[in-house]
Amino acid sequence: MRRSLSRTHVAGLALAFVAGGCRPSTNRAPEAPPPARRVVSLAPSITELLFALGAGAQLVGRTTYCAYPPAALAVPGVGDGLNPNVEAIAARTPDLVVLYRSPHTETAARQLGSLGIATLVVHHDRLEDIATTARQLGQATGHADAGSAIARQIDSALAAPPRPGPHARVAHVVWDNPPIVIGGGSYLDQLTHLAGAGNVFHDIATPSATVSIETIAARDPDWIAVLRETADPSPPDYAQRPEWRVVRAVREGRFLFLPAELFGQPSARAPEAVAYLRRVLDRFPLPPPAPQ
């Protein structure tokens, strides 16, 4: 339908967004190019942000992991986004492809560029990245005001004064064997901090890291936060394993189940996620309940 129209935009957009990146915030376009009408998103957080901007109708391709908002499921999938299939993406005749920065996607971005398709490579590990991308995507898709509004919301959430203590100490365990935890480089670390709690692995600068169970036991978190797809309140399987029961929070069954839909990716709903985490933590105030 829009296919023939979109092709006319391709050439003009070609170089405007290449090698964008989110840090530092730059807007290199010398003149504002016409808004992209056919956008392919190669990360769930980008898809969610496009819908939040009001650009959902312009989305013509998404990854297999893009499940939020539910309307995204109606958009055709173009692969897993981690190893972009350039042909499948080009077949959607996009005039803008938004990629998550990695060696694989940067190669794909170059290939798309040589096909005359504009690309925007973004980096979404921290909440401030979402604010930057919201502005960039807002401008690129003709929703600049919505982009600025989202960026302001995130900025003000980040600038909120810290909650007075005592602070619950949380470990986000995303995998059990080998144990992988969330470090200070992740938006989950920020969400935890903004909710008035602390991430016991804040000192690890990367978004996630492999650690030993011993390290988790020694850091002795009050809570183990676990992302869940469903509302299932039962502890994870590893909670029964003797080696994990060395960790006090595991032994005492102190798990915080966070809905993956809200916490699984950095998003414009960060203030909502912070409020959710606050509510959960307030429901079980410190000092912790007696061991079971």
Binding site: W175, T210, P242, E243, R245, V246
Partner: protein, 313 residues
């Protein structure tokens, strides 16, 4: 003296693995802390058992195929084990034992295939066919594994990564019990084959003249070494390099007689893996690196040093 030094080394590595760790424990608490009893102790024991098993399997297989490059994983076992583990992950098989069991079964299937190939030239397991068959089966299973991994969901890949690169984070008393009960059987089988192995190294014909039942000995050694490796893979994934380098260290220290070489390889393998795992846990604490990286970083310089000394001598 040399035996004393080997035993002292494995004890020192074992004690270091228990005393050192990312958690700071005052000496007075060492014997009371669950971190020591439930985490460090089973992990140190597993490191010694797995490292020792890989060392013995490597020494036996190098003699069996008369090739100093042979390594327990060269014969296709790692590919089979990796495929088993990745299949279990992709099929969402639950339970704590599903993955080790699937890795073990995968290794057994690869073993069976290579063994069957080895029999092609007659009942006496031609070393060249064993090696080529092992590499071919390894490449084939590796291709299937990579296909599954690249099509599976991202979050599931992390566990596959552990199986393909090795690590002892799975250690618990249950895994130690399992390995401690299982490993003595193939170890005993290999030790009883020590004398025939000495003769096999001279060549099939010579061994036969000296009274070795060549076909039976080869089958027994191949199966016992492979079962040992399969068990090691099932609890710790593919930990490279130990099985390759340890037998050479053993030969350098104690000569080529298998009655000494096999136990020495067990002690050296156990020492190397216990040390490597301690480093993997402590060196970049609070983070942890895959132990296979450390075995290579630790083993290669040592190996090069010894190679230079031996070739100079």
């Amino acid at each position: 003296m040399r035996w004393l030094a080997l035993v002292a080394a494995v004890l020192a590595a074992f004690i270091a693995a228990i005393v050192l760790g990312p958690a700071h424990l005052p000496p007075s608490e060492l014997l009371r802390s669950p971190i020591v009893w439930d985490l460090r102790l089973p992990r140190a024991l597993l490191a010694v058992l797995v490292g020792g098993s890989l060392g013995v399997a490597g020494a036996s297989l190098q003699s069996l195929v008369r090739n100093p490059l042979a390594d327990p994983f060269l014969l296709g076992l790692s590919g089979g084990a990796g495929l088993g583990a990745v299949l279990a992950i992709a099929l969402h098989l639950g339970g704590p034992w599903a993955l080790p069991l699937a890795a073990f079964l995968g290794a057994l299937v690869a073993l069976g295939l290579v063994f069957r190939l080895g029999l092609v030239g007659g009942a006496e397991l031609d070393p060249r066919i064993l090696l080529l068959g092992g590499v071919a089966v390894g490449a084939f299973t590796g291709a299937i594994t990579t296909a599954i991994v690249s099509l599976a969901e991202a979050s599931e890949l992390r566990n596959a990564y552990l199986w393909l690169w090795g690590g002892l984070s799975n250690a618990s008393w249950a895994t130690v019990r399992l390995i401690a009960l299982y490993v003595p059987i193939p170890l005993f089988l290999l030790l009883t084959a020590a004398r025939p192995l000495d003769l096999l190294v001279l060549g099939d014909e010579s061994a036969r003249y000296l009274g070795v039942e060549v076909g039976g000995t080869k089958r027994r050694v191949y199966l016992a070494a492979s079962l040992l490796t399969a068990a090691a893979v099932s609890v710790s994934g593919v930990i490279g390099f130990v099985g390759l380098i340890v037998p050479h260290l053993g030969r350098g220290l104690l000569g080529t007689r298998h009655r000494a070489l096999l136990p020495a390889s067990f002690l050296i393998g156990g020492t190397l893996l216990a040390l490597a795992d301690t480093l993997a846990r402590v060196a970049v604490a609070p983070r942890e690196v895959p132990v296979g990286i450390v075995t290579a970083l630790l083993g290669v310089p040592l190996f090069v040093l010894l190679l230079r000394r031996w070739s100079a001598a």
